[in-house]
């Protein structure tokens, strides 16, 4: 008599994606550069905890840099780290699109940390009873902090996309340099007189500063533009990065669908950027 072991039910696509995403999320959460970013975020936040009002200028910069920009390196390295074992990986019962999708889902790890950080900032501000400023309304502040969360997710997604499409050494650093260069170009909009073209230049990078000044000892002001439409623009940029990363491994009809999605997201991103810049460009003193 032969005893047959019960055959395990075959994994569905969604279950495979969940399993792979869990593994990739664990790899992400244990990456040294991510841990350094989280530690620095906690340290800087605690150091500024007694002066939350003064931190208004850098509140969005912290997660954007420490989780987003450092995440470019993490996303890129996680993507490229499986390149030496491509033959073994390709034998696994999951196609390239699923593997890339799992990597993209793992990029929610820094997003989760950024959400926790935003919630802690809100609680700290509520506890310290900082009076609402006419320049930064609670809704506007929420939009700006939301943009910081989007930047914390978008950086790693961009790193995954670059890791999928490039093979040359230093591609991760190049991606980070491109993001910083793009952001610096956006600061030219702050040097222009208050106008919609100036706001468009200021808001087109994937990270923007919402508090500026005309000089080191000059009073600070809040530039024009809609933080909520800017948040939508950033989310669409994240979608573009995911679609771009998935496109590398997609074939046939899947590729055509992704190309259509890319085009749609790009058009929507341009439209939302236009709406973000269409708001009143007047600069309000802080």
């Amino acid at each position: 008599m032969t005893t047959l072991a019960q055959r395990p039910a075959s994994l569905t696509g969604a279950a495979t994606l969940r399993t792979l995403a869990g593994l990739e999320a664990r790899r992400y959460a244990l990456h040294p550069l991510f841990l350094v970013g989280v530690a620095l975020l906690a340290a800087v936040t605690i150091a500024n905890s007694d002066n939350l009002d003064a931190a208004a200028g850098i509140e969005t910069l912290l997660p954007a840099f420490l989780l987003g920009l450092l995440g470019v390196f993490v996303g890129h390295q996680l993507t490229r780290s499986i390149a030496p074992s491509t033959e073994a990986v390709e034998a696994a019962p999951a196609d390239g699109v699923t593997r890339t999708g799992a990597l993209c889902l793992a990029c929610l790890v820094p997003g989760a940390v950024a959400v926790v950080w935003v919630a802690s900032m809100y609680l700290a501000m509520a506890a310290s009873r900082i009076p609402d400023s006419a320049a930064i309304s609670p809704a506007g502040r929420a939009g700006r902090l939301g943009a910081a969360v989007a930047a914390a997710v978008g950086g790693p997604l961009f790193g995954v996309m670059v890791g999928r499409w490039t093979r040359f050494p230093g591609a991760g650093l190049l991606a980070a340099v491109v993001l910083v260069g793009w952001t610096l170009l956006g600061t030219f909009g702050l040097q222009m007189p208050a106008s919609r073209p100036g706001t468009l230049i200021h808001l087109n990078p994937p990270f923007t500063s919402w508090v500026s000044a005309d000089g080191p000892h000059q009073p600070r002001w809040v530039p024009g533009g809609s933080p909520w439409w800017y948040l939508v623009y950033l989310i669409l940029l994240c979608g573009l990065a995911v679609s771009g990363a998935l496109l590398h491994e997609a074939r046939g009809a899947q590729r055509s669908r992704l190309l259509r999605l890319l085009l749609t997201l790009a058009l929507l991103a341009v439209a939302s950027l236009g709406l973000a810049a269409a708001a009143d460009p007047t600069r309000i003193p802080l």
């Binding site: 050494p169 230093g170 650093l173 190049l174 340099v177």
Partner: protein
């Protein structure tokens, strides 16, 4: 000894990117050197320099009758490429706009490139045969962080914009010497440890 083993694609790629950014800086330097972008070029050049000690065939190369110090000296000459780009770019900036602090920026560039080489040499000593990617990422992220956050002390800025050039030059001079000494110390052969 020749530069045959050096990953020239990485070194020259970083140099080319740095040269491109510096060319853009020169073009828009009429109102003063755009120091943020100039430092961005330095990040690219440092990344290129970080790859000079990458040796995929380290196991075979370590067996040849030539000390690691001699091989290090030969490979380190490849840093001339990114530094030439830096020196050329800064000189062009000065020609375009005389307020450019040429001396300080040249020392700063030498310091950052020397740090990249020293870190790569240190990692190679620790057993990494291809330290370039790690050093480029870590040093690049660190320089970008300093550029963005401008951490204290303000009296001795690493990358000054307005004041503090003299202190910064002194700091980078010291760092260059220390980095060079570390590179030499980290280039001893493994059997001498």
């Amino acid at each position: 000894m020749t530069l045959r083993g050096v990953d020239l694609a990485a070194v020259l790629g970083g140099s080319a990117l740095g040269a491109t950014i510096l060319a853009g800086c020169v073009a828009f330097a009429t109102d003063g050197p755009p120091l943020g972008y100039v430092r961005l070029a330095l990040v690219a050049l440092a990344a290129g320099a970080a790859y000079v000690f990458d040796e995929p065939a380290a196991a075979a190369v370590d067996a040849v009758p030539c000390t690691r110090r001699r091989r290090t000296a030969a490979r380190a000459t490849a840093v001339v490429a990114p530094y030439s780009v830096w020196a050329g770019g800064i000189s062009a900036l000065e020609l375009r706009n005389a307020v450019t602090p040429v001396g300080s920026l040249l020392v700063e560039g030498a310091g950052v490139l020397a740090l990249a080489v020293a870190l790569a040499a240190g990692l190679r000593l620790a057993g990494h045969t291809q330290p370039g990617e790690i050093v480029a990422s870590v040093l690049g992220a660190a320089v970008l962080a300093v550029l963005i956050f401008n951490p204290p002390p303000r009296s001795m800025p690493l990358f000054p914009v307005g004041d503090g050039w003299a202190a910064s030059t002194a700091l980078w001079s010291c760092l260059t010497v220390i980095a060079a000494a570390l590179t030499i110390a980290a280039s001893r052969d493994p059997y001498r440890r």
